[in-house]
Symmetry: C2
Subunit: 211 residues, 2 copies
């Protein structure tokens, strides 16, 4: 399977370099060198550099978003079975936890998390819009579910708070404990596991603040 092998090697190298150096600062030459494939292989298999980053997103995001959807719907169904409202924190956990779970299992996943953490503030229109397009369905589901969980919160306000939460979340993914070097005079970052728990606490408290 020289074919599949080549495509996979390209995707892995792209994930690594796009995350570390950014999309535009990564050259096809350094990418194909790292992947140990010919320079023309990317255009042959993915059409263009833009086609490549779309494939990088799709490979990880498709299975990941399927799991997130299942978990959110599980929270909704259990709440309905109990005749209660779903809890905001549980919905957020269903949205966030699969990401960190996936970091532990998949190799190179940390690279991908840095990449999507940066994608929300990506200046390049094509990169950002393709990322948003991939994430929009699961984001919509989260938004509608949180409306049920927090019915007293005006729609506009809920939307803003979710945006704040996304900001905190993507910031954590970019500055993961592994990557960030401890600044002198500041405490060393929490281990990843605990950091994720604390993020959930932080976001839940912010979402559920009185209005």
């Amino acid at each position: 399977m020289a074919q599949t092998d080549t495509k996979t090697r390209i995707l892995d190298a792209a994930e690594q370099l796009f995350a570390r150096d950014g999309y535009h600062s990564t050259s096809m030459r350094s990418l194909t060198e790292l992947a140990q494939v010919n320079l023309a292989a990317v255009n042959y298999h993915f059409g263009s550099k833009e086609g490549l980053i779309k494939a990088v997103f799709a490979r990880r995001l498709n299975p990941l978003n399927r799991i997130r959807q299942e978990q959110i719907e599980a929270v909704l169904q259990q709440a309905e079975a109990e005749g209660a409202r779903p809890q905001a924190k549980e919905l957020l956990r269903a949205f966030i936890a699969p990401i960190l779970e996936f970091r532990k299992t998949e190799s190179g996943a940390q690279n991908f998390l840095t990449l999507i953490g940066r994608s929300l503030s990506e200046p390049d229109e094509t990169v950002r819009s393709y990322f948003i397009q991939q994430v929009l369905p699961i984001f919509t589901l989260l938004f509608r579910s949180l409306q049920h969980a927090l019915p007293q919160l005006p729609e506009q306000l809920l939307f803003s708070r979710i945006q704040f939460a996304m900001g905190a979340m993507s910031h954590m993914m970019v500055n993961s404990p592994q990557h960030q070097k401890t600044l002198p005079g500041f405490p060393k970052p929490l281990p990843t596991e605990q950091m994720a728990d604390e993020l959930l606490e932080f976001i839940s408290a912010g979402l559920e603040a009185p209005c």
Copy 2:
């Protein structure tokens, strides 16, 4: 004053394009064309493209951070005069409000806010590290002050929560209401003023969550 005029025009154009397209995607040719100066003018006045972005940061951040420092110290002194602990929310307001105040007065300030909002997740080492270097003193002051405000919070946990807050904050600055186009099916964003207030509520609630 043709000299100052040229430098200012370059700084304004750089602020605008670096914010909109990112540092690397902005070419000296498009930048100098927008500024209506000669291509070589940037290298003459600022030495290099890197020298230019340093100057872009310094022009806005120096006065801004001075104001933030004054306001934080004012909160601390008033608390001490009352023999009470400073309130976390007031410290955060002193940190955030000057940014939005400055958006209303300075023209082109919104561009700059987008720029620094993106700088925290900037892949390029030189850009990010220079930004961090500019912000570190005021960030340190905020951190120490919040330690006084929330003494029951472990140092590591406080640090993480401040990071989450920075993420929410920078995300808001990048996706300002003016820039973001409303997605169909979602509420339109809050006006800037109210958005800033809500950000403060969100962050305060997250910071003061029980542990």
